[in-house]
């Protein structure tokens, strides 16, 4: 299966975005950084023991699924929405949801609009090759209002168009909207409308049929989530490991039982994954959280214990 391939290769090939602020893009030195990228690193650490052994393959909206289907990448962690047809017809498995997103609208304040339903006749910038265009069509249709789509190739182009006023509203996933808003000259002049017109569960994707590999990616992600739940962080992981008495943490950190072996990994897999860039919350804060220029609130992505949707099944 894929696990053997990855091990044999000594490298995880991770499909990422060509460039999406906060989620995945190369920095000035060419190293990939971002929210999605850290999950790639965690998987690599879990499987290979070295977070650096990842090869990032930038994929466009058009090439991403083909890249995965053809085995060019082992896993696609590239803000892709989990939909029925992608799961079934395209023969993929979405193993988890690492970011609950939804499609929203951003408009300029001086447009005087406070709800998406007032957008009748508006021009809307929209990226092609994504689910957003389908959602948009559905939303306007169901509200019996009209719009003019302006198709743009990527986020930065959309932003430029929007900024120049080429469209009244920019629609994309709310996370993207927040990032874009942050980079505008005066973010305060723009508002993100309250309507979230779609469910956009974004998550890592693997090929259908290789269940073990799917499990590895899924549980690596859940390990990060559980770590947050249990307060295990990058900084305190070693200390917790030595002092904890909580059986669940013990299982999580491989101190008890041999969960790794059931997936073909060793005992320390999850500990390594967490050690790379910390737990889910830490990763979130580091790349897209409120302390970053992007400034996303946890919202739906808060832990279930804090009113969010992020809920990791028990590790046992």
């Amino acid at each position: 299966g894929t696990l053997d391939d990855v091990k044999a290769r000594g490298e995880l090939i991770c499909g990422v975005n060509v460039g999406l602020t906060g989620f995945g893009a190369p920095d000035a030195t060419g190293a990939y950084v971002g929210f999605d990228v850290d999950l790639c690193k965690a998987v690599a650490a879990a499987v290979l023991g070295d977070a650096a052994k990842v090869k990032y393959v930038p994929t466009t909206g058009e090439t991403r699924f083909t890249a995965l289907a053809s085995g060019e990448v082992d896993v696609l962690i590239r803000n892709s929405t989990w939909t029925f047809s992608r799961d079934t017809d395209l023969k993929f498995d979405f193993v988890a949801v690492n970011y609950y997103d939804g499609q929203g609208f951003m408009v300029k304040k001086d447009l005087g609009v406070s709800s998406a339903k007032e957008l009748d006749g508006a021009t809307v910038c929209i990226q092609t090759g994504t689910t957003t265009e389908l959602n948009l069509a559905d939303f306007f249709k169901s509200n019996n209002i009209t719009y003019t789509p302006v198709n743009v190739a990527d986020d930065s182009e959309a932003l430029r168009q929007y900024d120049a006023g080429a469209c009244d509203a920019y629609t994309t996933d709310a996370s993207g909207l927040a990032a874009s808003r942050a980079s505008l000259a005066s973010p305060a002049d723009h508002i993100i409308l309250p309507e979230i017109i779609s469910k956009e569960p974004l998550g890592p994707v693997v090929r259908h049929g290789d269940n073990n590999w799917g499990d590895i990616v899924r549980w690596t992600y859940y390990a990060l989530l559980t770590a947050e739940e249990k307060g295990v962080t990058k900084a305190n992981i070693d200390q917790v490991a030595s002092s904890t008495t909580d059986p669940e943490i013990k299982r999580l950190l491989g101190l008890e039982g041999d969960m790794g072996a059931m997936m073909g990994l060793d005992k320390d897999w999850s500990r390594r994954a967490i050690a790379v860039s910390g737990n889910y919350g830490e990763i979130f804060e580091a790349h897209i959280g409120t302390s970053t220029p992007i400034g996303l609130a946890r919202g739906l992505n808060a832990l279930w214990t804090q009113g969010g949707l992020q809920y990791a099944p028990p590790i046992r």
Partner: protein
């Protein structure tokens, strides 16, 4: 009437009347020779003025050092007033290396620089044939430039010394034995491969051995069974070598004598480095292919002609973008299950196929320009088809075709920007997207395009001038 007239003293030349010279006349003749012309001149001056006044303030307010777009904006606002626009060249200042080298590790930049320099040395024999002085001048110049680039890239180091020695040696060769440079031309693909990707030196060497196997088999078989059989059996043998033996041999030698450069994976390639790798690789592989296709298209054999024509017309009939999408979307369907290879390699293959069709047409033009007599003379001397092609026809046809090939290359080089559509980091859109994904530079728009466009212009303009120069030269010296 007597017809006789003799001029006793010959007149010397005298200066033309005043109305024939001077700046006023030049102006009158070139700019204001009539009402229509005068209007056109004024119109042109107005257009020039409008263009300059539109773009000058923006260029003049440019900021060269800043760490983010916001900073640029505030610097411009501080110096030129809140509404003034200004270019933010600081981004180029910070990210230029990604536009040039992509993600190639900075401490290894000397390798692409050296490879690029050697490219010109390899081209010298093709461009200048036997012109010793031109060749040595070119080699020397390239050497100096390469060394300067190296010093710029990582200071004065071991590589600089290496480069100085290498280029000095090559220049000396060019000056004394220009033919010897042909060896560099032949070896260049392997050298470049090794320099760019690194890894064990035995890889390229054993790959080269494959060609030697081919040559050996050819020379053994060709006299007995004819050149076609020789070539095909040689090719098969070489393929067998490459597929089954090469890796063992190269590993064995590597174990015996480890000689290697740090391995750099393809995904580190980007920017103009990527554009040149794709461009040069495709054009050099597609040229032989193109020659074969051109010969096929001119062949008397129906089937071969039909296949060649079909192939050429098919490839020329579809846009390059669809070929690139084929490379990234469809190739996996056509290859045996489980074969995987690098996207860059796939793109190079498809682009090669694409330019082969164009080169075929260029070469066909060159072949058609040769007088029939050349073929007949070769026949009458008893040369066989392949000998005639190799010794008589191709050297001449290719020489005629060089301008066309250069044009194809220019087109191809410009088209490498399209690889961004399949997710590669080309300088125009790929790197620009990446740079803009950085929160510091998000929102920057014109500067990268102007920068990249400028480099494209310089390279392409240079090449097109060169091909024009060649065309003129060929016009005069080909009979």
């Amino acid at each position: 009437m007597s017809l006789l007239y003799i001029r006793k003293d010959m007149l010397g030349p005298s200066a033309p009347p005043a109305s024939q010279t001077g700046a006023i006349r030049w102006l009158r003749e070139n700019l204001f020779s009539g009402p229509v012309n005068s209007i056109l001149t004024l119109l042109a001056i107005y257009v020039l003025y409008a263009l300059i006044s539109l773009s000058w303030p923006w260029l003049a307010n440019g900021v060269w050092t800043a760490s983010s777009l916001q900073e640029c904006r505030s610097i411009v606002a501080a110096s030129a007033g809140p509404d003034a626009g200004g270019a933010c060249w600081a981004m180029i200042h910070e990210r230029w290396h990604q536009f040039i080298f992509g993600f190639y590790p900075p401490d290894l930049w000397w390798r692409p620089i050296l490879a690029f320099g050697l490219l010109f040395v390899a081209l010298a024999p093709v461009l200048y044939a036997d012109n010793k002085s031109a060749m040595s001048k070119l080699c020397g110049l390239i050497g100096v430039l390469a060394v300067l680039c190296l010093i710029g890239a990582d200071g004065f180091s071991f590589h600089t010394v290496l480069a100085i020695a290498l280029f000095a040696g090559l220049t000396a060769f060019a000056a004394t034995k220009p033919r010897a440079l042909l060896t560099v031309t032949i070896l260049f693909p392997f050298i470049a491969l090794w320099l760019l990707w690194g890894g064990s030196i035995w890889g390229p060497i054993t790959a080269l051995l494959g060609f030697m196997v081919m040559a050996m088999i050819y020379s053994l078989i060709a006299p007995k069974l004819g050149p076609v059989m020789g070539a095909s059996l040689g090719f098969i043998a070489a393929c067998l070598w490459w597929l089954f033996l090469q890796s063992y041999v190269s590993e064995a030698w590597q174990a015996l004598l480890p000689l290697e450069l740090t391995y750099v994976t393809s995904d580190k390639f980007g920017g103009f480095l990527l554009a040149f790798v794709i461009g040069v690789a495709s054009i050099s592989i597609s040229l032989p292919l193109g020659i074969l296709l051109a010969l096929g298209r001119r062949s008397d054999m129906m089937l071969i002609k039909t296949l060649s024509v079909g192939f050429i017309e098919f490839v020329r009939g579809v846009p390059l973008i669809t070929m690139l999408f084929t490379a990234s979307l469809l190739l996996q369907y056509f290859l045996p299950p489980q074969t995987k290879f690098d996207l860059i390699l796939r793109v190079v293959i498809l682009v090669t196929i694409f330019s082969a069709a164009y080169n075929a047409e260029v070469v066909r033009g060159g072949l058609a320009a040769l007088p029939r007599g050349q073929y007949e003379a070769a026949d009458a001397l008893g040369l066989d088809y392949w000998q005639a092609q190799r010794l008589i026809i191709m050297p001449q046809a290719l020489k005629i075709s060089i301008p066309g090939i250069v044009s194809t290359f220019i087109g191809l080089f410009k088209d490498t920007t399209l690889v961004s559509f399949v997710g590669l980091a080309d300088p125009l859109r790929g790197i620009t997207t990446i740079v803009r994904a950085d929160i510091n530079w998000k929102g920057i728009y014109w500067e990268p395009y102007i920068f990249v466009g400028g480099i494209f212009f310089i390279v392409c303009f240079g090449m097109s001038r060169y091909s024009m120069y060649l065309e003129n030269k060929l016009k005069t010296d080909h009979r």
